[in-house]
Structures are given as C-alpha cells and as structure tokens.
C-alpha cells in the first residue's frame, strides 16, 4: 500500500544523533558523502562502513528500519552491479559464456560500488530518520540565509518545503482513497498498453488536483487567520545553538575523513 513508504520519515528518539543541531547534521551529511567517495581501497571503505555502523548505533533506531530504507533502491544497486560485473574487465577471467565474460575486476568493482551506494542511502536516511522535516527545512533556511543578499527567496522556499512535507502524507492517503473509489467503479490500472494506462490515470489525477487546490485555498485562509505575512518580522520558537557535541561530532568526522585520505595515499587502490 502507498502508505507503507518510509523514505523521508522521521522517527523521534532521545539519541545523540537526534539531539545534534540540524545545521550540523546537514554539514555532516555532506562530509559523509565525501567519506563514501574518497576511499579507493578496502581498508578505507571498511573504516567508512565502521563509522556508519557507529552512527547507526548512536541513532538508537532499530536495524529493521535501516534495511527498509535500502529496499526501494535495491533494483538500482542490482542493475549497476550487473553492469559492472559484465562490463568491467581486468583481473582474472573467472567465467565465460557466449558474449558474457566475468572478471575478478568486475566483481570487485560491483561490490565496491554497491557498498558505496548502500552507505550513501543509509547515511542520508539517518539524516531524515533522526531530524524532523521542519528542523531540516529550518536548518536549510538558516544555512542558506546568507544567499538573501543574492535576492534568493530563502524564507519562501523553506515555507514551501514545510508545507510540502506536511501535506505529502495527506495527499498519499488521499490518492489511496481516490484509487479505491475509482477501482470500486471498475477503473482498471493494471492492464492494457501504455496509452491505456496513462488514460486510466485521469480519474485519479483530476480529483487529486481538485482536492490539492481546495486544500491549498483553505490552507491559505488558515495561514491568513494566523497573521502570516511572509518572513518579514517573523521570529522562531526553536532557537538553534551549536553545543559541544556538535563541534565534537564535526571534529570526529573530519578526523575520519583525513584518515581516509591518508589511507588512500598509503594503500594501493583496488579499482
């Protein structure tokens, strides 16, 4: 069912990762992307994975949830792995049939890149699992606020994100309901060619748009009722403070990144 999707969902818990300043978590996520792509050897990759495991442990989230985050991209991982296995030559020839040849190089590349993608997804899921969407948009708004000088509408962008995040679950639920209602009238979304399937979406899309516009209109009224007048003169309840744990986690991350770079210099690359 549509409502089972977990990507981008927040799971509150009293962990260290949850308590970090969201701005710092955004910066750390960028650092994490670097950490995933820097290693060129197994030891480096192992260190990165170990660091990730540490972060998962510090997040206090159940392992099941972590695995769930990878599930939607498994086909992608599988696809790239297959491409790598068959297209990358080098190393020993292990297996050959018709035009397919598998070399050790291909296997290693497939494994290496597969692990990288998985690490990347888990790392960014950790960000969304441990940070409320509003904290995240808030952090983005504040991190990007220097760009106001360039006339970028930072507050408006953040407000749009906040509202989008708020209404995604509502609209997913609504889509589910409309689909059921049209199925009950014999709508068929599963058979026929491409054109027929596209046409079959009309009975879902029109009601969904109508509903989204009605909601938008009502929300605008509700926001007016609450004296909304854009970012000007607005204050925030939640103030962000960088605490010692934030600086500490930044230091640790930078240290790991530095170590990874050193390892690259000292150890021969596998790729």
């Amino acid at each position: 069912m549509l409502t089972d999707i977990t990507i981008g969902q927040y799971f509150p818990a009293p962990s260290l990762l949850h308590r970090l300043d969201p701005r710092m978590k955004l910066i750390l996520t960028v650092l994490w992307i670097a950490m995933v792509f820097v290693p060129k050897n197994w030891f480096g990759l192992l260190l990165a994975v170990a660091f990730l495991v540490l972060c998962i442990a510090l997040s206090g989230l159940p392992g099941r949830l972590i695995f769930k985050s990878i599930r939607p991209i498994l086909p992608l991982i599988l696809f790239t792995s297959i491409l790598n296995i068959f297209y990358v030559s080098g190393g020993r020839l292990l297996f050959s049939w018709w035009i397919f040849k598998v070399h050790t190089g291909g296997l290693i590349t497939a494994a290496f890149i597969g692990i990288r993608i998985i690490c990347l997804i888990i790392g960014s899921s950790l960000l969304t699992y441990t940070t409320s969407p509003t904290a995240l948009t808030d952090a983005l708004e504040r991190l990007l606020s220097p760009l106001k000088v360039l006339h970028l509408q930072v507050h408006e962008l953040a407000m749009m994100m906040t509202i989008a995040l708020r209404f995604i679950p509502t609209l997913i639920e609504e889509t589910d309901k409309i689909m059921s209602a049209q199925k009950a009238r014999g709508a068929d979304f599963e058979s026929g060619g491409l054109m027929k399937r596209v046409k079959a979406m009309i009975p879902i899309l029109i009601p969904l748009f109508v509903s989204a516009f009605r909601r938008a209109y009502e929300l605008a009224t509700a926001m007016e009722c609450r004296c909304y007048q854009g970012g000007e003169g607005r204050t925030r309840m939640k103030q962000l403070h960088l605490a010692r744990r934030d600086y500490l986690s930044l230091a640790v991350s930078l240290a790991v990144l530095a170590l990874l770079i050193v390892m690259n210099i000292l150890i021969d690359p596998v790729l």
Binding site: Y10, E218, A222, M223, R226, T235
Partner: protein, 284 residues
C-alpha cells in the same frame, strides 16, 4: 461589553455578467464578551461567510463590522482584528502548517514576531488548554480528527484572542471527536472567559449554548436562548433545520393536545415532564 458588532452588514459576490450573488443581507448583530453563542443554519444560509467577516478574511460590501471597536475594513488594524478574533475552520487537515504539533501551534505567535521564550510559553499553555500537550512532538497526520481539530484550536489560542469563532469545527468528525472539540470549547469559555461563537448544524451542540442564532437566506431570522429557539419547531423547519429528538417528541404530543412544556431539550427533561403529565392523569 460587546466584542463583535455588525451594523447592517451585507456581503455579495460581484459577477460581471449576472446579478450579484447576495450572501449576507443587512445583518445586525452584537455579541457580548464572554458569551457562548451557537450559530445555526442550513448550507448556503451565509453562516460561514459571516464567520469569515469576523476576522477580516472577507470584508463587508455594505454596512460595517466592528471587532472590539475596530472596523474590520481598516487595513491598519487588520492584524489587531485577527489577534482579537481567532477563526477555526472546518477541515482540521487543511489548517495545520507544520509536520510537528508544537511547531504548528507556534506558527501564529511566530508570525506576530514574539520573543522565543514567550512563544514557547504560549505554545505549552495552549496545548495544555486543549489537552494535547502529550502530543506536542507528534505528526498531525497520525492524530485523529478530533485531536487535529484541538491542535488547530491551540494554534489560534496561542495568539491569545479574546474571541474564538469556529466554522463547523465538528462537521467532519466522528461522535468521539465532536465530543472532544465541544468539551474543549466549553472549557475555554468557562475557565478562561473566552467568547465562543460556534457554527454547527448539530442541534445537540447548540443546546449547550447561552444564545442561539439561526440564519437563513443571508439574514439572522431567530435569536434567543436554546429553549426559546427550539420550542419554535415550525419556524426551524422553515429554515431547513431540525430540533433535538426530545423536543420534537414533545412537539408532536403537544399537537395532540397533551399538556407538555414546549421548551424541553433533553431526554431527562422529557421524562420528568412526561411523568408529571401521567401523574396528573392518574389523579384525575
């Protein structure tokens, strides 16, 4: 002291090709501070439009509306009007802005530019007042309809208005949610002296009010205590409304010449009055 004062208030939508669509027609109304008013009316009677006039979401096209002495048409007082009269809408889903309950409640005070500690204080106070403090970190889409509507009320309370106008706040809720919302607004009226104007078409919800207004065709056609209003069964029918079942039963028996009072609202009152009539019959 009156908080809302409408003087010959009219409102119509202008259509370039057709005659203007008149929604409110010469409404004179004054609502006392601290009162609990139920506004009844069938669909299209103009009650929602009147609600939206009360905090300047819509402005009069004729006559005027004063909120605590301020003219709602005065653009300089717009935000003062909206801080004085808070409006809660029908669909709780479409008035919550944030994915976290407490941040949603903070939205209003943040717009007012209050200092963070003050916002925090108001948010906690408002959530406690509607009994939703325990859910301050929840996501709205995980709450029941009644809970969402109480969060929406808290969001308005956090702006510390003197008057709460609720536009059919229970229409989309189940009986449990309706009870929650109704208990909440009654408590606000009783404990905090909040003026409450609740729009509804559930007669039972109006029965607990100090005063009932009935709208039909853009006008206020009845105004009185619940007993005065509900005893006029025929007139309510004309306005396409019905009356609570005990009142209706009483009405039918009175039509048959039974000597029951006309202003019965609850089952308990009916039982007591009916018993008295039976006793009278037995004595004779």
């Amino acid at each position: 002291m009156e908080i809302i004062n409408a003087q010959a208030l009219s409102f119509s939508y202008e259509n370039p090709d057709e005659a203007p669509h008149i929604v409110l027609e010469g409404v004179d109304l004054s609502i006392e501070k601290g009162s609990f008013v139920a506004l009844l009316g069938a669909n299209g009677s103009g009650k929602s439009t009147l609600a939206k006039q009360c905090n300047a979401i819509l402005l009069p096209t004729g006559g005027k509306l004063l909120v605590d002495g301020m003219d709602t048409a005065d653009p300089d007082r717009l935000f003062d009007v909206r801080r004085t009269v808070g409006l809660v809408l029908q669909n709780p889903d479409n008035q919550l802005v944030s994915s976290i309950v407490e941040e949603d409640v903070a939205f209003g005070p943040e717009n007012l530019g209050l200092p963070p500690q003050e916002i925090r204080r108001r948010v906690e106070d408002s959530l406690r007042a509607v009994g939703m403090y325990g859910y301050k970190d929840s996501a709205p889409h995980k709450l029941s309809g009644g809970q969402k509507q109480r969060v929406a009320i808290a969001g308005i309370l956090a702006m510390q208005p003197d008057c709460l106008v609720l536009d059919e706040p229970t229409a989309m809720l189940d009986p449990q949610g309706r009870r929650e919302v109704l208990q909440t607004v009654h408590a606000l009226n009783r404990d905090r002296g909040m003026t409450v104007v609740i729009i509804t078409h559930y007669m039972e919800e109006a029965a607990g009010a100090d005063r009932v207004l009935v709208m039909d065709g853009g006008k206020i056609c009845m105004d009185g205590t619940p007993r005065e209003i509900f005893s006029q069964v025929d007139k309510l029918r004309e306005c396409r409304l019905d009356v609570p079942q005990p009142t209706e039963l009483c009405y039918r028996l009175r039509q048959k010449g039974v000597n029951l009072p006309a202003d019965i609202l609850t089952a308990e009152e009916f039982v007591a009055a009916f018993e008295a009539v039976l006793k009278e019959g037995a004595d004779r």
